[in-house]
Symmetry: C2
Subunit: 694 residues, 2 copies
Amino acid sequence: MSYTLGTFLTASIVISAAAFLFAAWLFRWVKAMPSNNARIAEVGALIRGGANTFLRKEYTALSRFAGGVALAILLFLPSPIWQGEAMDNVYMMVAYLAGTVFSAVAGVIGIRVATLANIKTAEAARKGIKPSFMAGFRGGAVMGMAVVGSALLGVTLLTLLTDDTSVLLGYSFGASSLALFAKAGGGIFTKTADISADLVGKVELGIPEDDPRNPAVIADNVGDNVGDVAGMGADLFDSNVASMAAALVLASVLDKSAGGAANSAMVFCYAAAGLLASIIGVAMARMGNHGPTRALNNSTYITTGIYGVLTALATLIFGFQWRIWGASAVGLLVGVIIGIASDYFTNDARSPVRNAAKASESGPAFTILSGVSYGFISALPSLIGIAVAALAAYKLCEPIGDGYAMFGIAMSAVGMLSIVGMIISNDAYGPIVDNARGLSEMGNLGEDVLEITDQLDSAGNTVKAITKGFAIAAAGLTVIALLGAFISEVNEAALAHGLAPITGFDMMNPTVFFGMLIGVAAPAVFSAMLILGVNRNAQRMVDEIHRQFREIAGLREGAPGAVPEYDRCIEIATNGALRELIPAGLLAILLTLAVGFIGGVEAVGGYLCGNIVTGILLALFMSNAGGLWDNAKKYIEAGAHGGKGSDAHKAAVVGDTVGDPFKDTAGPSINTQITVVSLISSLAATLFLTISLF
Amino acid sequence: MSYTLGTFLTASIVISAAAFLFAAWLFRWVKAMPSNNARIAEVGALIRGGANTFLRKEYTALSRFAGGVALAILLFLPSPIWQGEAMDNVYMMVAYLAGTVFSAVAGVIGIRVATLANIKTAEAARKGIKPSFMAGFRGGAVMGMAVVGSALLGVTLLTLLTDDTSVLLGYSFGASSLALFAKAGGGIFTKTADISADLVGKVELGIPEDDPRNPAVIADNVGDNVGDVAGMGADLFDSNVASMAAALVLASVLDKSAGGAANSAMVFCYAAAGLLASIIGVAMARMGNHGPTRALNNSTYITTGIYGVLTALATLIFGFQWRIWGASAVGLLVGVIIGIASDYFTNDARSPVRNAAKASESGPAFTILSGVSYGFISALPSLIGIAVAALAAYKLCEPIGDGYAMFGIAMSAVGMLSIVGMIISNDAYGPIVDNARGLSEMGNLGEDVLEITDQLDSAGNTVKAITKGFAIAAAGLTVIALLGAFISEVNEAALAHGLAPITGFDMMNPTVFFGMLIGVAAPAVFSAMLILGVNRNAQRMVDEIHRQFREIAGLREGAPGAVPEYDRCIEIATNGALRELIPAGLLAILLTLAVGFIGGVEAVGGYLCGNIVTGILLALFMSNAGGLWDNAKKYIEAGAHGGKGSDAHKAAVVGDTVGDPFKDTAGPSINTQITVVSLISSLAATLFLTISLF
């Protein structure tokens, strides 16, 4: 069937609009559910208020940062404004700002619905597990639809407005900037609150989790929302946009040399098909009789299947290259497989978690040593998966013609990220039901309800391991495609400046190797700074909690009228998160610029490569080790090795505390770091090419 | 002045012989020192016996392994025996076996003198710190001289016997095989004993370190010798040989195209100058009034200076290239700077250790989080140092002509490793004085003596951090040079098979990238397997110690005649070390072969690169984090944050236990892993080139 690029741009807009309408319908559906427990409403309002406080402060800080970056873009990118076309710089700046705004709006929507759905989920649990599950799942799906709808809509609109794909990299960079704040900042917030609430509440005073006397308890619940809902959403928004941008940059080069717009059209077609598949998948999701975990996983598999069929149909109808369809399918398949591998290392029915739990009997040092070891080992299957996906996509598409091999990798990343709407839905489900569990405890809804929310919560934790592995793999494949986009940008700039194009980055070139050695250190130092940030911030909050218990009369005893100052804890978490995030974020950016201005584009190529490969390694290590410790603790709490209160349990708690910033702050933030660094490099390609020491 | 290659080969033999004679003189000097305490003699004999048991078993296992490898070499390397020159295979096999034997002999000598010098050092402490220092230092220097002498002698003899530099890679591979057993096996042994002795003795029973009632106490002292003396010696023997082999492989290519043997001559000249400098440095070493740490560091600086002067003189006299002298000097300088950077992160006068000690007040999780973070950050300066050294050496030597750039990097590694005789002397000093401390406690030599040995021991620990950073940096630079040797081997094979030569490894080539992603995982998985091995083995030994305390009547109370079965613990440590080491070693080798036979030489190039860069990162991370935890614990024990027995101290002990296998098993073994993998790849280059899936 004959088509134009316009056909697919229109389809993308229509499907994005459908996603928004569906999100609105889901939101109203959740909102219409009954809620009438005053205590829950009160606590729910505190959580909502805290989340809004964080978002307001974060977005204020971000808008200052983004303003500075926007000004720098206006002056210097894609080339200094006094040298190139001034309008190019204006477009780039607008695209950058659009990237931050679209992602921020999706974050606000996500938080808004999550802090509503938690209440509804808690109250629905009184009617049974199925309505409660639906409230949690559909609440999460609002975020999923909003994120993917706005990602696709933004890319489509920018393509309509400018026909310069570099501008898409600017949009993607905007999304990354926001993700850096949302994921790393949210990650510091949530773990600051979580760790200090546990440290004083559970360890020192021996009061239960979610006890309302604990001044940090609201901050802890807020943290789930800002870290896991807004943070994870921004992270996947970022990867999703980056995969489309990388694919479109490469497609436009191919289209230019072949004439027409077949490749760009295909990118939009596949991305739109992915969103459509996610809409159908979400709409069809129901909980059967096999429990919530099965329900969540089934919807992922169904979406995957629908995507495969839709894209195959489109390929047939529009006469796209089957090889590229194959690359895209391989990416999706490998994404799912990597998720399953992550599950193996964090599932308490498997030997890694069991061995770590057993090792805890000898003391916390052995818990740590086991977790670190299995965390490192867990990286192997995923790295092999990414390696195979990239190699298979490349080899599949190489025969089509020059440049298609790298485009194949980009389409493999697009394929992997196609079902991201579904992934986000599953992921946002986690903190909603986690909150719901806390609310049912604080609202005294009784044992039956608590059991249901516990079951929903446990499913959220299991699925989280899979979606996290998936997110890291997707980011990995995306940044490999961004490497291709980087070369393409470099060569466009080289052409414009009459310089020789580069064909690759030879590791035997010492400038490349120089960059690579420094790139290898970058994600390690970045994640270390975030962890130290959590460490310092938690110390501050522990001091504040101690102060409240000391100064507020009757608080420790739970005397009526003795209310903790929840706001102070939220304030500490918020301010600390922003303060600790800035140096790490700046380091990531400045190190890239330093390498570029010292060693030029070749050093940057090596730097990106080193950054990407160790970034993936460390992200997998930290996420999986953290998940393993979490589940080893839960496994012991369920009765193994002496159960709660035993020495093994105490050791496992140490492991869990170490794992908290690993899995929820540093690990997932590395995703963002590698994307930010890759995008800056592409955007500053002209500068590195023309101004460098070597 | 005119010269032939023979001039320098002769000089190398003469200086090697001088090193052996000097070692013999030092040995007699140490042996002639008085010793007459019966209790010390008795315990000393137990330690010596245990160390010999370990060596015997290790060398038996190794000889089986080496026999298998030798057979495989005979059949397949450098090319299948039925295809190429059969004598090439025989030479290669002989060289391989020579590498294992020379290194093993140096190890035996080192252990022999270390288990003698520990007694002499303890007894000399009764006369004061200076004679005691000299006993420890000169005991260590025997090992230093033996190692470097046999490394240089082996390379020289093989060069005289064959004029095929590939054979040197075989010799180097032999040295690496031994190092894998000695370093990883010794590392598992020493930490098994150390951790379980502490866990039962100090933590459970509250008896002091080195208490003779503890059945693991002798194994612990044996461990210091087999891990730190024999293991570290084999590791540096390995790096030293590898740096010479890589430089000679590259030099021979240059010499072939230029005629003559100027470059090969230069390698021997510089290596011999380094050994001579070390001999002079050791001979001049005395303890002044500034304490033992200053004495050890001063001898390093003096040796460095002598090396610089000697090589400058040689360059002037023989008309070598000054640019190459510059590359070599840069390497040495950077090695020293990296050592100082490592010291910063592990010195208790600096903020990283202080912060980790302070964080311990909040519990062990915070000790771990701080140490992990600073460990990752500590990699940055060293990686920048290696990157700058490689880049500077390359840029310095590039103008000389084609191929000199990579030769410059190799000479930079030779320069860095030139003072290795001195480094090993300093390093072996550590376990000798550590043992001496234990012996003076067990021999009841009194508080004054204990204070002196404590002071000597503390200097050993400080210097150890520096020498470890140095060893990792040297291994890093060496394997970069081995990458050059790998390409050179590949191209020689390509020429022989009429295939196109390769010029480098382009990261945008998906086969290279495929290899790189898997290479990145290799050192992570290797080190994780060693750590799990220590974990498992320590559990076994803890069970055995419990059994002895339960079954041997009067042991716990220290009744006269109740002697623990020290041998059983030594046996468990020995057998476990070998059993746990094999899978990790096999994985390192098989993963390389798998990548090579799947993706061919390009995949192997990427694999090596990924393996090297993450290997360096993880080795620095683990060594420095481990050193930091060790010193944070000691800092608290010295009275900070509540001192011994406080909660902060308990938390710091957890950190120290985690750090033990990090810094003494996994971290330093990664050095060996990256060398082994690089050498196998070079040796199997022909196979990968001719037989591979892609």
